[in-house]
């Protein structure tokens, strides 16, 4: 089992004809992901290395029946591309685009919640999702992930997601699914969404979560873990020695209170029973111990 995707997930790539879209879309296809089509307005009827390209998501879905979309579209068009996918009936949207304006993102995520409640958005500004050996949607290098479980991975940080997979795979500990939820202010999928799905997934027996300073997503995760998780969780929070961040006026201080610091997050997670590591390597080592004792 896996969460959100499996070996049958069919995928289109919005932006397949661009250089990033082509590189990563074809790499996903080579990994074994069922990449059925690409979408680029104005390039319908062409193909990219044998994969057909359509003008619209609607057309691509009608022709191929794909259920997921990989959005590799520049920031100025990404929000629109996400909504186009949702409108065409896509149920899983993975958007890797970095640099989407915050107002576009907040509006888009709330439109999805209101009008397309059954559509899941992963990202934006994320590495995507991989269920090793089954499906890879996004920019995660497939060869750093190891099939077979039993660990679920969820991360707010792009490259640290790879680091986490690498630490586990080096120790011969496989993963069921790895979700890179991205570090943007308004992600479509949260830690809690992923933790809840991992808790339900029979093959996932432990979860590694990688957080970072800022926001309160880790504090929310700690609350959920404390109230609703039976499976062991190991966490690492990046930014323990980071310089103090920019102060967002009085409003930032009033809204966030004491949340947001690495220490606050690590304390909240520890209090929820999470094993908190001081670096990604230690997180991997702790997880190896946990997996061997399962």
């Amino acid at each position: 089992m896996s969460i959100f995707v499996d070996e049958n997930t069919t995928v289109i790539v919005q932006g397949l004809t661009g250089s990033q879209g082509k590189f990563h879309g074809l790499r996903n296809r080579d990994y074994g992901t069922k990449v059925l089509a690409g979408v680029t307005p104005g390039k319908g009827g062409t193909d990219v290395d044998g994969t057909p390209v359509y003008d619209s998501v609607k057309e691509a879905v009608e022709e191929t029946g794909a259920v997921a979309s990989f959005v590799v579209v520049p920031p100025r068009g990404a929000a629109e591309a996400i909504l186009e996918a949702a409108g065409a009936g896509i149920s899983l949207i993975v958007c890797i685009t970095e640099g989407i304006p915050a107002q576009d993102e907040a509006r888009t995520v709330n439109i999805l919640k209101r009008d397309f409640p059954s559509t899941r958005l992963i990202g934006p500004n994320c590495p995507g999702i991989i269920s090793p050996g089954k499906c890879n949607i996004g920019i995660t290098p497939g060869d750093i992930a190891l099939p077979g479980g039993p660990v679920g991975v969820v991360s707010r940080s792009g490259t640290l997601t790879y680091q986490a997979l690498h630490e586990l795979s080096q120790q011969k500990v496989g993963q069921t699914t790895c979700v890179g939820m991205g570090g943007d202010p308004v992600p479509g999928t949260s830690f809690v969404d992923c933790l809840a799905a991992f808790e339900q997934d029979p093959e996932t027996r432990a979860v590694m979560m990688i957080g970072e300073i800022g926001g309160s997503a880790e504090e929310s995760a700690a609350e959920f873990i404390s109230s609703s998780m039976t499976k062991p969780v190991v966490a690492y929070i990046a930014g323990q020695t980071a310089p103090p961040g920019r102060r967002m006026g009085h409003a930032g201080a009033i809204v966030s209170g004491n949340s947001g610091t690495a220490k606050g997050k690590m304390d909240a997670l520890s209090a929820a029973g999470v094993r908190v590591a001081k670096n990604p390597t230690e997180a991997g080592e702790i997880m190896v111990d946990i997996v061997h004792s399962l």
């Binding site: 990033q20 990563h24 920031p75 100025r76 890797i96 640099g99 989407i100 304006p101 915050a102 107002q103 907040a106 509006r107 995520v109 709330n110 439109i111 209101r114 590495p127 920019i139 995660t140 290098p141 750093i144 991360s155 707010r156 940080s157 792009g158 490259t159 640290l160 790879y162 680091q163 690498h166 570090g183 202010p185 308004v186 990688i210 970072e212 300073i213 926001g215 309160s216 997503a217 929310s220 690492y236 990046a238 930014g239 323990q240 020695t241 980071a242 310089p243 920019r246 967002m248 006026g249 009085h250 409003a251 930032g252 201080a253 009033i254 809204v255 001081k278 670096n279 990604p280 390597t281």
Partner: protein, 391 residues
């Protein structure tokens, strides 16, 4: 990007938010000319992107030309918490009857916009939040729905804004929300929002943070960007498309992705060292950007060793390796480089570097090994960083 007060006020004016009549000055003569034109008494305000300028003597009332000249002369060039005052905002002084607070920002936890409005505005607003949270009306706004006048009227009534000015305050809030959304701000904050003795409401201060991601649709922001930072290294980094923050240590850091860069700082600290900077080359960096990053770190005289920590995803390790080779050939690198390379095209990257490995370019297998080696090298031990030294 944070705006200066005067830029924030100019930005507010585009959305119909009333502000005090005034102008910006970079010289004493200019400040006096503005004072003469807006009419005395005037307030001369230091333009710095840091709080506490009033307490530091950066805000002064002047009733005459002589006083305006004297204050402008004293405040220009003043140092406020490490920020040198290069500009003044000179405005007609307001007879304040009441000081309120208004802001729009994003509540990340709720994933909604948040209005905060209080009749207890002024410099102690954070104290109010702690001791009397009920005095701040907090209202979520759905970004997919927007903010309407009836909602604003409800908020001003709940906050206890004076009945005679509820309509104009509500209109001001709708304008402030438009500024926040259409103006692509991360934060708009008015503290204080004042009611003057003539019964009019306007913004006496302006705190605006723009969303850098929206720069592409705001060509008018160029003038703000031009005055954004005075730190030469950070300015230079920004021009090169690098996310750089200067720190005090001696291990230069280059990583791809903010999370990995922060994690690199963590492990350097855990290895007993101290980072000279935070530098994230972002996703999809090419060889030229990598060379540029090394060149930037090389210009920092505090740096004793450079730790390059790359885990390729959208960034390809062959590009990173090519960038390092180009830097070694074209830049006089003053410090040794310790490199850790994994992920997309890592094997090609290592092949490209194979002929260049020396005591000036060391490749380590893991992030921790690389951190220990870089810290040891910064301390003058070129053979350090072995596994045995970790404890």
């Amino acid at each position: 990007m944070d705006l200066f007060e005067y830029q924030g006020k100019q930005y507010f004016e585009r959305y119909g938010i009333p502000v005090s009549k005034g102008g910006v000055a970079v010289s004493v003569d200019e400040a006096v000319r503005i004072a003469e034109s807006v009419g005395y008494p005037v307030v001369v305000k230091a333009q710095v992107k840091v709080g506490g300028r009033g307490k530091a003597g950066g805000v002064k009332l002047a009733s005459t030309l002589e006083e305006a000249r004297e204050h402008a002369g004293n405040i220009l060039g003043m140092d406020i918490k490490g920020h040198t005052v290069e500009r003044l905002w000179v405005e007609h002084a307001t007879d304040i009857a009441k000081e309120w607070y208004a802001s729009f920002t994003l509540d990340r936890t709720a994933q909604l916009h948040l209005l905060m409005l209080s009749v207890k505005g002024g410099i102690e607003i954070e104290e109010v939040a702690r001791t009397d949270p009920e005095a701040i009306v907090k209202v979520h706004v759905d970004p997919s729905e927007g903010y309407s006048l009836p909602q604003a009227l409800d908020a001003v009534a709940r906050a206890g804004i004076d009945a005679e000015v509820r309509d104009e305050t509500a209109e001001l809030l709708v304008g402030l929300y438009r500024c926040f959304v259409e103006g692509d701000c991360d934060l708009v904050e008015i503290n204080p929002l004042v009611l003057n003795t003539a019964g009019k409401v306007h913004a006496l201060d302006a705190k605006v943070t723009l969303d850098d991601n929206a720069m592409f649709r705001h060509p008018e922001w160029e003038e703000f960007a031009a005055t954004d930072t005075t730190d030469e290294r950070e300015k230079s980094a920004k021009q090169r498309g690098l996310n750089y923050v200067g720190l005090d240590g001696d291990v230069g850091i280059i990583a791809n992705g903010a999370g990995l860069a922060m994690s690199t700082l963590d492990v350097v600290s855990q290895a007993g060292g101290s980072a000279a900077n935070f530098l994230d080359i972002g996703g999809g960096a090419d060889a030229a950007l990598m060379t540029s990053a090394l060149d930037l770190i090389n210009s920092d005289s505090n740096v004793k060793s450079i730790l390059v920590n790359i885990f390729g995803g959208i960034t390809r390790c062959d590009e990173v390796a090519t960038g390092i080779v180009q830097a070694l050939a074209g830049v006089d690198m003053k410090s040794p480089i310790v490199l850790r390379l994994d992920g997309t095209n890592a094997d090609q990257g290592r092949e490209i570097l194979a002929d260049h490995v020396s005591d000036r370019l060391v490749v380590e297998k893991t992030m921790l090994d690389a951190a220990f080696r870089a810290v040891a090298m910064a301390a003058g031990d070129s053979h350090g960083g072995d596994q045995g030294e970790r404890n």
